[in-house]
């Protein structure tokens, strides 16, 4: 019943596309997919800690479940994303960092106002956003950055333990320091995180579970 589960937010946006421009939108998505593999901006975007996942997908009007063919007027662009942090932070970041890319993807959607300035863009997302009915989060006390860090920490520790068994104390100390430096940015705490309402705190505490391995 909420877009929030633990520290994650699920965003689903369905915006109508005119059927006769859908092929351009498809081509743009394909182009973006390729561009995303080579562009520095995209690779930096993936390093941002608060984006978990983002995907755009065209849903054709004849593929709607339960709707007879011919009933649905438009094709739709589905934007599905999971992120950590606030809705505003997420939309702000997209508008600030990749405005041209967003315009290229969404300009085929009916009445898209452009990704800059941000207020009309936010209005468009809100109007076309579908709230989440059911959302499950296995690690409510962790962001994906924390989960990735924990996996990295575990793997590094296992590797360190396996390869440094036979060192004398002085050599071990040196190796251990090097190991600590290699994992020093994977030592963040997990827990309830920022709250938006008093009930939000209670909910994330009930689900408990800061990430432990």
């Amino acid at each position: 019943m909420s877009n929030l589960a633990g520290k994650a937010y699920a965003l689903s946006v369905l915006s109508p596309i005119k059927p006769w421009t859908t092929w351009i939108n498809q081509a743009v998505l394909l182009y973006s997919l390729i561009q995303g593999r080579i562009s520095k901006t995209e690779s930096n975007l993936k390093k941002l800690t608060f984006i978990h996942y983002a995907r755009w997908q065209v849903v054709y009007r004849d593929n709607w479940l339960g709707e007879p063919p011919g009933q649905v007027k438009y094709n739709y662009l589905l934007f599905f994303s999971n992120f950590n942090g606030t809705w505003d932070q997420y939309i702000d970041a997209f508008s600030d960092v990749v405005p041209d890319r967003l315009n290229l993807i969404w300009r085929w959607s009916v009445k898209f106002p452009g990704s800059v300035p941000v207020t009309p863009f936010k209005g468009y997302i809100r109007l076309n956003q579908y709230d989440t009915d059911y959302y499950y989060n296995a690690y409510p006390g962790a962001a994906t950055t924390d989960v990735k860090a924990a996996i990295f920490l575990k793997q590094s520790l296992d590797k360190f333990a396996a390869t440094n068994k036979d060192l004398d104390p002085a050599a071990f100390k040196l190796a251990y320091n090097k190991f600590l430096i290699s994992i020093q940015n994977s030592l963040m705490s997990t827990g309830a995180g920022p709250r938006f309402t008093e009930r939000h705190q209670a909910a994330s505490e009930l689900k408990g579970a800061p990430y432990v391995n």
């Binding site: 960092v97 941000v118 430096i181 963040m188 705490s189 920022p194």
Partner: protein, 477 residues
């Protein structure tokens, strides 16, 4: 690209002077005033008289010789008491209308910082409509006697028949050594404060690198005016959310008043104990908390020693990025200044540009010399003022996501070591250095060094808006 309207010059005579920069005046008195809404005409006429005394930005760029100054702000309840029409009142942002106490979950004001533990004047303001703080007056002066004599003039204006009454006040000012009576130039924890200031378009000062926004070519340019003043394009670029009518908003800003109590003994004790385990020693540990040595030298520029010449050089002491310090080996990832203004720490400096705040603060209470343990109980701290055009996007975001959380900097739930509401369970990783094999150091058991003792959200109107409010001619029709 963006099509921002150029802001060549601002109406300095219309903008309150303390928004631009801190006055070179070491003493302040912040006065909390209640308006009797049954005497609204008298209150408006008092406001008109006060407005004539307000210090505008025309004192800049060089305010030397200034002996005293006066600035004014109004709370949402204050605007109601002065009879603004509902159509205008409802156009103000909801965060402002709610006020600071009701934003406590977002701001981390819990435990010892909970509004139920604030100073009486702030608790009363929240609980008793007859004691609401409606008007905030700030008197700044060259010394205490000038402050007192200027204040006594004001107090006459606020006397019987003024439609206003003084609920209380708080004195603040630069700290002095108790024996020599010389200014010590630091706050209670021994850090030099007020080094970092923002630069926005139209400010009447020469450009300084490191204060505005970082461009892709590595240069620094002023931020958009609308990040700090209403009625101008912001970084989006669009005009920030502002009340109507336009003349009420234009050249005004929103201000956070926050009384931050400092637990001097807890801080000194923690620093002493923890530095026994920290190989770099006490001063380096103190520097790692903040990202600057206590004299203000940025760790990113000078990781091994204080550099007084660099610390004093306004053209260099803010001019740095984290490009060559991505892993935090110089300035830790979770250090105070890296959280308050991440510059390029998140790879895209644009992500920091819309979260900048103007910070004005003056210490209150008596300085405890460095060689003494101090105590937590005396009244000492910072009267912290923040100015921004959008509470939610700027101050509250920084407070919630960056001070009390740290995912954006790979810090998870670890909080700001100085400002975080840490409650004895706080942790900070001080990154080591792969070049020298210096191991990371983990500070655990961090207590709350700072507690909130009061505060609220205020609107700092332009002089035009103050006159309009005083004349009762605000209309949205």
């Amino acid at each position: 690209m963006t099509t921002q309207a150029p802001v060549e010059t601002l109406d300095l005579e219309d903008i309150q002077g303390f928004i631009m920069r801190s006055y070179p005046l070491p003493c302040a008195r912040y006065v909390y005033v209640h308006i009797d809404d049954k005497q609204v005409n008298a209150a408006r006429s008092t406001l008109e008289k006060l407005t004539e005394l307000v210090t505008a930005s025309t004192v800049w760029p060089d305010a030397t010789g200034l002996e005293h100054a006066l600035n004014i702000a109004l709370s949402f309840k204050g605007l109601m008491a002065l009879g603004l029409p509902t159509s205008s009142l409802i156009s103000f942002p909801s965060a402002f209308a709610e006020g600071m106490a009701r934003r406590k979950i977002l701001l981390g004001d819990e435990g010892a910082s909970d509004p139920s533990k604030w100073d009486k004047v702030w608790q009363d303001s929240n609980a008793d409509p007859k004691k609401s703080i409606h008007l905030w007056l700030a008197v700044f002066a060259a010394d205490e006697s000038k402050r007192d004599s200027y204040y006594s003039q004001l107090a006459k204006l606020l006397g019987l028949g003024s439609g206003m009454s003084v609920l209380g006040f708080e004195d603040a000012g630069r700290l002095k050594d108790p024996t020599t009576q010389q200014y010590v130039n630091t706050e209670h924890f021994g850090y030099r404060d007020g080094i970092s200031d923002v630069e926005f378009k139209g400010m009447p000062f020469p450009h300084v690198d490191g204060r505005g926004k970082l461009m892709p070519d590595g240069s620094w340019v002023p931020l958009a005016t609308g990040e700090f003043l209403l009625g101008y394009p912001d970084e989006s670029p669009e005009n920030p959310l502002a009340p109507i009518p336009h003349l009420l908003a234009r050249n005004g800003t929103f201000m956070v008043v926050r009384k931050l109590h400092q637990n001097v003994a807890s801080f000194r004790c923690y620093l002493n104990e923890q530095s026994k385990k920290f190989p770099g020693g006490k001063e380096l540990l103190a520097a790692k908390f903040v990202g600057r040595w206590r004299d203000g030298t940025p760790l990113t520029l000078s990781p091994d020693k204080q550099d007084p010449i660099l610390a004093d050089d306004v053209n260099r002491n803010n001019s740095f990025t984290y490009k060559d310090d991505r892993d935090g080996s110089r300035c830790p990832m979770g250090a105070h200044i890296r959280r308050m203004n991440p510059r390029d720490a998140m790879l895209f400096s644009k992500l920091a540009d819309r979260r900048r705040i103007i910070r004005r603060g003056l210490t209150y209470g008596v300085h405890t010399p460095e060689d003494q343990p101090g105590n937590d109980t005396d009244e000492h701290g910072i009267m912290f003022l923040v100015m921004n055009s959008n509470f939610e996007r700027q101050f509250e975001f920084v407070q919630q996501q960056w001070v009390h959380y740290g995912n954006d900097f790979f810090q998870g739930d670890d909080k700001d070591p100085l400002l975080g509401n840490n409650d004895g369970k706080g942790k900070m990783v001080i990154q080591g250095d792969s070049k020298t094999d210096r191991a990371p150091h983990i500070c655990t058991g961090l207590p709350s060094f700072v507690n909130t003792r009061g505060g609220d959200y205020f609107f700092v109107p332009s002089l035009t808006a103050l006159r309009q409010i005083a004349l009762g001619i605000i209309s949205t029709i």
